[in-house]
C-alpha cells in the first residue's frame, strides 16, 4: 500500500497582472486585474514505503509547491493527497509526527544558540524523553560525523555542518516520510557526498520513505532509483532513472584520444560527431551500431585511449526539459 498517494493534484495561484511604469501603477490602482497561474497541474503518483524518489524539474516547475502540498503547508486547488494515511492539509499532530521537511535554503535551528538547544526543543515538542533524545542525538550525530560542532552556536558552523545539524533536528522524531527540498544546496562536493551517504544509510536503517528534489544530478543518481520529472506543473515522467537514460539516450557516448590530429571530414560516415578538440574526439553512436563502428574507428585511426559511456544525465534531462516531453 503506498505511503504517499497523489491523485490529480493541482494548485493555482492568483497573481496581480500589472503593467510596468507609472501608468501601469495608476491603472492597477483603479482597475485591478488578476490572472491565474497554474503551478501544479493534475499530478498523480504513488510512493511505496521505503522508496527514495527523486523529484526533478527546472526552476518554477512546481516541485516545491508539490512538496508544500504533500506536507500540508498549502492546500491543493484540486485533487487529493494522502501521506501515511493522513490528509496533509488537515495538519493533525499525529500526521506531523510522521513527516519532516528539510529545505536547503531555510533553517529551523536557532541561529545564535548551539544546535543542541534546538534539539532539546524538538525533543520536548515531539514528546521524546530526555534519555531517548540523547541516545538518538548521539546515534544521528555519529551517522552524520558531527561531534563538538553541536555545542557551538549555529552561526559559527560551516554550511555543510549546519545542513547536517538541520538534518539531525529534522530527523530526531524519526519520521516515516522525509521531504527534502534541495538538501545539498550550496554545499561543496565532499559535504554533498556525506549528506548523500547519510540519507542512504538512514533509509536503510529505518526504512524511511524519501522524496527528494535537487538540482544536483549527483544527488539523484546516487540516491534515487526512481525519478519523477515535472515541467510547467505537469508530471511527464515517472519511472526508473535507468529507464529514463535508455529512453532519452538511444546512443552511447564514445570518447577517443588520437595520436595524430584528424579533421571533421574524416569522421563522415560515422555517427554524430559531438566535438573534435585537438586530439580529443567525442561521438554519439547508436547502441546497435556500437561494436561495429568502434571496430572501424580503431582500425582507421591510431587510438591512444577509448572510453564508452552514457551521455551525462544532466545533459539528457536538460535536453528533455527543453523539448518539454519524453520523445
Amino acid at each position: 500500500m503506498p505511503i504517499v498517494s497523489v491523485d490529480q493534484l493541482s494548485r493555482t495561484y492568483r497573481v496581480a497582472d500589472r503593467q510596468s511604469g507609472l501608468r501601469g501603477s495608476v491603472e492597477h490602482l483603479l482597475r485591478r486585474r488578476h490572472r491565474d497561474v497554474v503551478a501544479v497541474d493534475g499530478v498523480s503518483f504513488a510512493v511505496e514505503p521505503g522508496e527514495i524518489v527523486g523529484f526533478l524539474g527546472p526552476n518554477g516547475a512546481g516541485k516545491t509547491t508539490t512538496l508544500k502540498m504533500l506536507t500540508g503547508l498549502i492546500h491543493p486547488s484540486a485533487g487529493s493527497v494522502q501521506v501515511a494515511g493522513w490528509v496533509p492539509a488537515r495538519r493533525q499532530p499525529r500526521f506531523l509526527e510522521q513527516i519532516t521537511l528539510v529545505m536547503g535554503n531555510k533553517q529551523q535551528l536557532i541561529w545564535d544558540l548551539p544546535a543542541l538547544d534546538s534539539f532539546r526543543v524538538n525533543a520536548a515538542v515531539y514528546g521524546i524523553d530526555d534519555s531517548e533524545a540523547k541516545r538518538r542525538i548521539h546515534e544521528l550525530a555519529d551517522m552524520l560525523e558531527l561531534g563538538e560542532e553541536l555545542s557551538r552556536p549555529v552561526r559559527k558552523l560551516s554550511l555543510g555542518q549546519r545542513m547536517k545539524a538541520e538534518l539531525l533536528a529534522a530527523l530526531l522524531h524519526r519520521p516515516a516520510v522525509l521531504f527534502l527540498d534541495e538538501p545539498t544546496l550550496g554545499l561543496d562536493v565532499n559535504a554533498q557526498a556525506r549528506v548523500r551517504d547519510f540519507l542512504a544509510d538512514y533509509n536503510r536503517r529505518y526504512g524511511a520513505t524519501v522524496l527528494l528534489t535537487s538540482h544536483y544530478m549527483g544527488d539523484i543518481t546516487a540516491l534515487c532509483p526512481r525519478v519523477l520529472l515535472i515541467h510547467q506543473g505537469r508530471l511527464f515522467y515517472d519511472g526508473s532513472l535507468e529507464g529514463l537514460t535508455t529512453r532519452l539516450a538511444p546512443q552511447r557516448e564514445v570518447r577517443l584520444e588520437l595520436r595524430h590530429l584528424a579533421t571533421a571530414e574524416e569522421f563522415q560516415g560515422y555517427s554524430e560527431l559531438e566535438s573534435l578538440q585537438g586530439h580529443q574526439v567525442r561521438l554519439l553512436i547508436p547502441r546497435e551500431q556500437l561494436t561495429q563502428q568502434v571496430g572501424e574507428l580503431l582500425s582507421r585511426f591510431d587510438v591512444l585511449d577509448l572510453e564508452v559511456g552514457d551521455p551525462p544525465v544532466e545533459e539528457l534531462i536538460g535536453r528533455l526539459f527543453r523539448q518539454g516531453s519524453v520523445a
Partner: protein, 279 residues
Amino acid sequence: MRRALRIARVLLASQYAYMLEYRAEIALWALSGVLPLIMLGVWQGSGGAVAAGLSPQQLSHYFIAAFVVRQFTVVWLIHVFEEDALQGKLSPYLLQPLQPLWRYLAAHIAEQATRIPFVALMLAVLALLQPTALALPSPGALLLGLLAVGAAFALRFLLQTVVTMLCFWSERAAALDRLLLIPYLFLSGLVAPLDTFPAPVKSFALATPFPYMLSFPAQLLAGMPVNAAAGFGALAAWCALLAPIAWLLWPCRKRRVSRPSRRIRLTGLLQRAGALMGG
C-alpha cells in the same frame, strides 16, 4: 499536562538563552521606552495635573509606574510573524505538532525577563536622582500591580494575535497595528493620566481595551485609588473576547496561502525596533 509543562520549560529556557545573546540590544530597547518619563517632565512643567487634582508626587509615581508597565507589556508579535512568514521561517514551525504562537509567546516572556536588570538599574538611577519620585507600593498593591501587568501583557498579546492573523488577508497587517498605536497612545494613559481627561473622553476610553493595558496596572503600582475589581474584570472580559477570535482566525489563516504577499519590504528588525520605540 506534563508534556505541556516540559515544552514550556524548554521553550522558555532556550528563548531566554537566545535573548541573552541580544542583551545589549535589549538594554537599548529598554532605554528607548522612556516616553512616560518624558511625559512626566512635560506634565510637571505645565502644572496641568494639579488642576486635574493630581499632586506632583502622584504624577511622578504614575508616570514611573507607567514606564515599568510599558517595559513589560511590549508586544512585537506582528512584526516578527510577518518577517518569519515572508522569509519562510514559519514553515518549519507549522510542520511541528505545536501551535507556533506558543514559541512567540515564550520569546516575549524571555525578552521581558532579560529586561528586568536593565529596568531595575534605570529605576535605581531615578531613585538616586529624585528619591521622592518613586513610591514603594505595599506588598498587596505590588502583587495586584504585577498581576495586572501580566494580564495587560496577555491582552496586548491577544490583540496583536488577532491583528497578526489578518496579515493573510491584508498585505500589511503591521500597518494596521500602527493604526492601533494612535488610540493606544492616547487612550491607554501613556501621554496623560486618565484623570486629566474630560469626563466623556474618560468614559469613552474606559470602554476600550487600551486603559487596561497601561493606566490600570500603573495606577495599582503607583498606589493610586483605583477600582481593582472593575479593572481586573475588564481585563478578563477583553481577554475572553479576543482569545476565541484569535482561536477562530487561526484555522482560517491556515487555509490561505503559506505566506503573505512579497510586497512586504521592510525588515522585521526595523519594524520591531520601530514598534518598541513607538509602542
